[in-house]
Subunit: 495 residues, 2 copies
């Protein structure tokens, strides 16, 4: 059938199997500034009871954006919000009040500190769902975790919504957690204290995804945005553990040209990176890539020519922020880094990663989420993701802390399953997962190993074994593996 | 109900409205090299009769990849392929043979030259569908045009599929057309003649989307990859038209600090850019952005400090490739540039664009696809996209070419609807679209205008009017507006 279109042409609407719609007229496209207030932006995005709001955590303990948003939610009289942040910190203590007021009723995302402590004792109306970095990305992509509104903090943005974390007074490094939220959320608000001239010269988030740019006074406190965890430990016990990690790597034979390793922040891991840098120097070896987070330490190893590429997803200190402002290098967003539903992650092929834990058990399961008293105080981060990818996944722990056995029969909560954990390095020796016969063979006659059960025995002897803890029947949280399945349930703390 | 998971934990599978799957075990993830031959890659991607294969055209008339792929398809005995390239050139003449053999039976994408000529006389089993850059991106995103296999030419790629057009002997500029194919195709093959060490330091296409990396001898002929259209015309008539464009911009008042303009290649447009650069200098004006394609000319304007940002999607000459290798600046992929289904395109807010045409008509409709004899010889490119966005969309044409009236009552094919075309600048004067009363008012007493009908009369007088052409009943192609509707049908040429 022929139909006359808006240009006056007779258009055939059916050709073979094809059905065509005739041109119906058009207009000139233009743009208007998207800059407004946070309250107005939320209103225009249709904020209502029951909505899911997502956030990234790259402003860490210096973040003002989550609190400011919830203040705006309260101002708008909206309740029953589900938070879908990548992580919360102590700075987000006001959330406890919002929970009490019924403004926040559900949380899916990492809880570090006070909010986790509160939720451990006061269950929300649905359990907190804890996912790894890669697991969260996949969940947003699949729709399992659908943000109605993504709220994306930026240290600079232009009026059309191109946004970055690379420049500005509160720069925190390339925005790397929010691309998936920008793409899949129904509405997207960039929040910034620094509107720059169009076009913003870095744009990890592009205008094509952004509905509004909310201008606020300050997105955060730069002193607290930068992590406190980039100081190398001075504790001789921890330094000893860190040194053992590098000895283990060496014994396994992975300290060789082209090695790829994950560089993290946090006491022992950072010390291990320092010693690894020294070992690279001693052996005159050049590593191919360091993935993960940037710190002054790892940049110094790079500058010394001991690692060719920094393939980073986070930036942990001021030194590193200044460094990437001069040379952006190879940032990898979290999807590139760890989305398990793709055809390749940057972490695939890692030779080694050094990770911490609150507890480990004789099945090599690792707990990073709860303390031994049952309180949910930490997120999973990239723990599972990197553990699943590294040829040598090392967990570092002291066998006990004060009167609490860290190596134990059963961890309080499973965050990373033992089947992908290769070695536990402690102050009392190194245990290798018995299923890694290949590793055990490689290190034979090079370093001493100790069975994990003996480490547990040492811990139990020194401490009298795990304290009994009183937990309620209510499940306050679940830890998920990055494939979406449940590793463990977290129960209410009742005393 | 509680179920024991693969870590031995009892997991509650139903909590409130949530249903949870228990952890089922996992393995270590790793990677293997994706490098193989083109034939093997196609086979492993399950190539079969009826498949849609997509390509980008950034190797232009120097491209070897489309032909090499179809040779592999023939070798595999597969038929009935739909091509979903962004554009074909004369170098793709072998496709005529593949059509005759039934290997290629449908084409959706731009046809420049010989293949278009052939198809004009020999209809395929479905009409060729012509879309603008932005329209094609949107069609792939929506599933209207679904590639079974995306084949992405790269001048460098690593074994895991991170790929670029920025470096290597056959560098052609950042890959900017294929991100949407990479994301939405069922299978993705990167084709390169330059496997670089992991990680490839530019990666417009990331490993997460790539199934295979097919290594071939040469992806193209560097001499022909670079466009021949970056030479400024020496034809006095065309130079006169180009100068008039800049006079018109000036009269309208858009040559001012912060202006944003589209810089294209092609004779008159390039000359207009040269004169615009001079005018910026004379008036001591600094433009904000030049969007579109990079040429030596536009980079020189940038280096002279007359435009602050090059917000580019293509790279047209060697000079520009070298320039971006030293300073990548602000590349914009085609989705960012022109996807009409997003919340903002880089072209929105363009002050002006200067575009060519094969014909224009008295309703300001523009033909860029067919010649006046009906032959389909060109693609739409970014014509519609930029026309829809620019405050001042200028079409430049001579009123007639040889004995053919270019300004006419009705264009042979509508590529861009007159309702978004603002001015026709010709050797015989400037016509402004009567619906743009604002523009007419602005230029009053500054420049002379001529009604479009008079331009047509001049053309008809000099040429005797349009030749009658003999077209068949069969529709060999349709031009679509970027919203997916049909602007026009293209009929078979019968003599």
């Amino acid at each position: 059938m022929k139909i006359e279109n808006a240009c006056g042409r007779l258009i055939e609407t059916n050709i073979g199997n094809y059905v065509f719609r005739p041109f119906n007229g058009t207009k000139k496209y233009t743009y208007t500034s998207k800059v407004t207030t946070l309250v107005d932006a939320l209103k225009k995005c249709g904020l209502k009871d029951g909505y899911t709001l997502s956030f990234h955590h790259q402003l860490r303990n210096g973040d003002y954006v989550v609190n400011a948003t919830l203040e705006a939610v309260r101002e708008l009289g909206v309740k029953d919000i589900r938070l879908a942040q990548t992580a919360l910190f102590d700075v987000h203590k006001p959330i406890v009040e919002y929970i009490k007021e019924g403004i926040v009723t559900r949380i899916e995302g990492s809880l570090n500190g006070v909010v986790g402590d509160y939720v451990s004792r006061h269950p929300l109306k649905a359990p907190v769902i804890l996912r790894s970095h890669g697991g969260r990305w996949a969940a947003v992509k699949s729709g399992e975790l659908h943000p109605d509104i993504a709220i994306i903090a930026a240290s600079a943005a232009d009026e059309r919504g191109n946004a970055t974390g690379v420049i500005g007074e509160n720069a925190f490094g390339p925005i790397s957690y929010s691309q998936v939220d920008a793409q899949y959320a129904d509405h997207v608000i960039v929040v910034t204290d620094n509107i720059v001239e169009y076009p913003c010269i870095y744009q990890e988030i592009q205008e094509r995804y952004v509905d509004y740019v909310a201008e606020i006074d300050r997105i955060g406190d730069p002193k607290k945005i930068m992590s406190g965890t980039t100081k190398i430990t001075e504790d001789p016990m921890k330094l000893d553990i860190a040194r053992k990690c590098v000895d283990l790597m060496d014994a396994v034979g992975i300290i060789r040209d082209g090695m790829v390793f994950q560089s993290g922040a946090g006491g022992i891991s950072l010390a291990a990176m320092k010693f690894l840098g020294e070992r690279l120097e001693e052996k005159d070896v050049v590593a191919r890539c360091a993935t993960g987070g940037l710190t002054k330490l790892i940049i110094e190893i790079y500058k010394a020519g001991r690692v060719e590429h920094l393939y980073y997803s986070q930036v942990f200190d001021d030194y590193s922020v200044k460094f990437i402002q001069e040379n952006l290098g190879l940032p990898a967003d979290i999807g590139h880094y760890a989305d398990p539903t793709t055809k390749g992650r940057t972490i695939d092929g890692l030779d080694t990663v050094v990770l911490g834990a609150t507890e480990v058990d004789t099945s090599f399961n690792v707990n990073v989420n709860t303390h031994s008293d049952g309180r949910l105080l930490h997120g999973i981060g990239g723990h599972q993701d990197t553990a699943s990818a590294a040829s040598l996944t090392i967990i570092t722990v002291p066998v006990f802390r004060k009167t609490n056995p860290i190596v134990r029969e059963k961890v309080t909560t499973i965050s990373t399953p033992g089947m992908i954990v290769d070695a536990i390095v402690t102050n009392e020796g190194i245990a290798i997962n018995p299923k890694r016969e290949d590793l055990i063979k490689k290190v034979k006659d090079k370093i001493d190993l100790i069975p994990i059960e003996e480490l547990k025995d040492i811990a139990y002897e020194a401490t009298g074994g795990p304290k009994e803890i009183k937990l309620g029947d209510e499940i306050i949280g679940v830890t998920k593996y990055f494939d979406g399945t449940v590793l463990d349930n977290i129960y209410r703390v009742v005393e």
